[in-house]
Symmetry: C2
Subunit: 462 residues, 2 copies
């Protein structure tokens, strides 16, 4: 009867493998980061395809199989280490696409050049767009899978690396179809694309917020008008959109249907190591809505939000131009929590906007289902065991404020358990300037994946 743990000899080998992997890791991360695989806004399709090809080649270079899956959008990479003797089959989800990056806002290096800094605790900081979201974690899983394959751990590990996560995974159904057509049916999915609340304790997520995104557009004139000559009769589209924002902020439709967390969840939150000041500093926040830690966690993990991201229209230059603009456009989004239905809330938003100002056009640009998973079952147990072995303490159970459109789709389509093995930290700066990953998270992440694979292989019913 095999144990659920690696033999001591294998653990020693793993340590050696991880220590020797740093040059490979930095080289591979450089390859991935230096492809500007920016999905939002479009226009980078060629770079995304080249980035996917480079990622495919990294899997092949470690002895794995890998191919691009054509999806109708930009391609996904499907690859891994097929194993006919496997006692468990696991699909690991990461994404290769990244947020846009404005060079002007980066204070350290450039977004699409990997900058490596030595660090007293973390050994190396790897800085570049996508380093933590989500290219670094993908490479940790890849290194671990290659080791597991070389050690003949009886597990079949595959990767599904999509390239449309940052735009809501519009063609992810086609990617899942491609996986099925290639004959792979996983027993479970591991997602490595979320964030620990704190560097002091590993964490397993079990819930994601969903989101709803749209553009509110109002045109009132054919050209801008003199605010003296026509002001008072001309309708000011920016002012009217501001009034609409205030009305939406006060409205109930997007705050309804929220189920408060169970007392046990609140206990987990309190035990998560969440630190208000660390959170504030990690995300570069100055003034915040509340400084009460539990209230902060609830606001990010368990409650919906309404955000305004930008406005187009009107005069943006220096000083002031006192014209009444002819049109304006607000970019808005909501984060939604489980049991809130994005489709229904989009309908209610449409009705609300129409009732408040019938001339405002609402252009829906995307919606992602929220996700609520569970922490029981053999897959979660294996990830918990793997993280505990690697990081020396059990992971805390937390929710996640972000959204991953692919997760609820995998839950619905594959019908298998999903577990989260996150490696990112708040200080890594998801979506922010100076985004980074670090070697400590990469290295212990490799160990956590290997221990998880071992636990899965040995605990699996097959």
């Amino acid at each position: 009867m095999p144990t659920t743990q690696l033999e001591p000899a294998a653990v020693a080998l793993l340590d050696q493998h991880v220590r020797q992997s740093e040059p490979w890791f930095r080289g591979s991360l450089r390859t991935l980061v230096e492809h500007p695989t920016v999905s939002p806004g479009g226009g980078h399709e060629v770079e995304i395809r080249r980035g996917a090809e480079a990622a495919r080649d990294l899997i092949r270079a470690l002895g794995g199989q890998a191919d691009l899956l054509e999806t109708g959008g930009t391609p996904a990479v499907f690859g891994g280490f097929p194993n006919p003797q496997a006692r468990a089959r696991v699909l690991i989800y990461n994404h290769l696409d990244v947020q846009p990056a404005d060079l002007d806002t980066w204070t350290k290096g450039e977004p699409f050049r990997l900058l490596i800094e030595e660090h007293p605790e973390r050994q190396f900081i790897y800085r570049g767009r996508g380093s933590t979201d989500d290219k670094g974690p993908a490479l940790s899983a890849l290194a671990a899978a290659a080791f597991a394959a070389a050690q003949k751990i009886p597990i079949d590990i595959r990767f599904l690396w999509e390239t449309e996560e940052e735009v809501g995974s519009p063609h992810f159904d086609a990617a899942l179809k491609g996986v099925r057509e290639r004959g792979f049916v996983p027993d479970g999915v591991i997602v490595s694309d979320t964030v620990w609340p704190s560097a002091s304790s590993p964490a397993m997520s079990y819930a994601l917020r969903g989101s709803l995104q749209g553009i509110l557009r109002l045109r009132t004139a054919f050209k801008e008008a003199h605010s003296g000559m026509a002001g008072g009769v001309a309708r000011n589209p920016i002012r009217e959109l501001c009034l609409l924002v205030a009305a939406i902020q006060g409205a109930a439709f997007w705050k309804a249907g929220v189920i408060p967390p169970e007392p046990a969840e609140l206990e987990d939150f309190m035990a998560s190591g969440f630190d208000a000041e660390y959170f504030r500093q990690s995300y570069g926040l100055d003034k915040i809505e509340t400084h009460v830690p539990l209230e902060m966690m609830l606001r990010v993990w368990a409650r919906p939000t309404f955000e305004v991201h930008g406005l187009a229209g009107g005069y943006m230059g220096p000083g002031l131009k006192t014209a009444v603009p002819k049109e304006a456009e607000l970019k808005v989004s909501f984060r939604l929590v489980h049991d809130q239905n994005p489709v229904q809330i989009m309908d209610e938003l449409r009705r609300f906007v129409h009732g408040f100002n019938p001339d405002v056009e609402l252009i829906a640009t995307g919606q992602l289902q929220p996700y609520m998973g569970q922490l029981s079952g053999p897959l979660s147990a294996a990830v918990r065991a793997g993280m505990t072995r690697a990081f020396g303490k059990p992971p805390v159970a937390v929710r996640e404020g972000g959204s991953i459109g692919a997760v609820p789709m995998m839950a619905a389509t594959l019908g298998v358990p999903i577990a989260f093995l996150p490696l990112s930290l708040p200080e890594h700066g998801y979506h922010a300037p100076d985004e980074c990953f670090d070697w400590l998270q990469a290295a212990f992440g490799m160990r956590a994946f290997v221990h998880t694979f071992a636990a899965l292989a040995h605990s699996s019913p097959r």
Copy 2:
């Protein structure tokens, strides 16, 4: 005893002079328009000075005297036709600076190239930034003054052409000081920088709105934050500024102290030829606040407004980037009517903003006094007589929705009557793309000025 009217022989000469002036007018307007004398936003000081020098040279070329007045800002032009035998001394105010112009928004020609179109009614349309606001009217007055001087009409006509009107005339005191130092003390001022309500009837303005301009700035973070990871705790500066706009819109402080027009004024408004549909089309408006003509006039001429002109901060690109911005800035202004005090309302705005959201910074960028004049007295009578002779019907009495900072300053400093002899039409597009002037307004404007000069010379007590 001289009559208040030109002799028939002089009228015939005037007709001939005006008809022969079109080539001079288009050439001179081309010279002025093709100097991009953009004052808002700064950075065009060299072009403004060159434009002022070119304007000075146009006066000199017609036999007038002219010099630049250094003011501490960009220079003003002071010139004219000194006349020791004058029975009246008049100062004519125009401005040489213009609003910015975005080439992309122009559908006809380029802002700083004079485009000339033939027109069945107006004979020629002169298109370019500044053509109607205020370079064309300045040239009509100049042509008229040169004719009056050549005809030895006993009047001393001087021009004060400033170059900072579009930024609130910050150094206009120094310009007035320069005029005084050169020994010129006018009996009255004629301002030619307002707009008729309709092409069908000449108009005399007697009131200007004032204005108050500022920037509302809010910074909540050191960098933008992921709306999933931090949304709910991060304070969204755009959303908060939208709430502030809604609060200001509903507040009383800027709507207080408005004295409704007298019944006689309302009768003048109704008789002004104001046409709702012409107004809407002339200003390129699609959806408007009201279609009731009197209500439209009241809203533009006799009531304050609150406008939002633009927002900086957040994501402006295509599509959506779901980050919480770190800072945002709204550009706002108010138009104020007479008996409202801009200094006091700025104080109240500051208190209101601080009370609503103490983290919002208010940067005051300018304020202009409203102006309320009168239509009685010899100067107004002369302008009325001059316009009546030229245009064949008496001018209607209207207020003006725009602001001219120099006018209340001249009223306070010079202590002489001020009258308006406007030549611009709504369809000319003050501050708008495709701004234009036309030969009919220029030519009849020349006649109106000459008849006004004659009336002034003959009615004056000197």
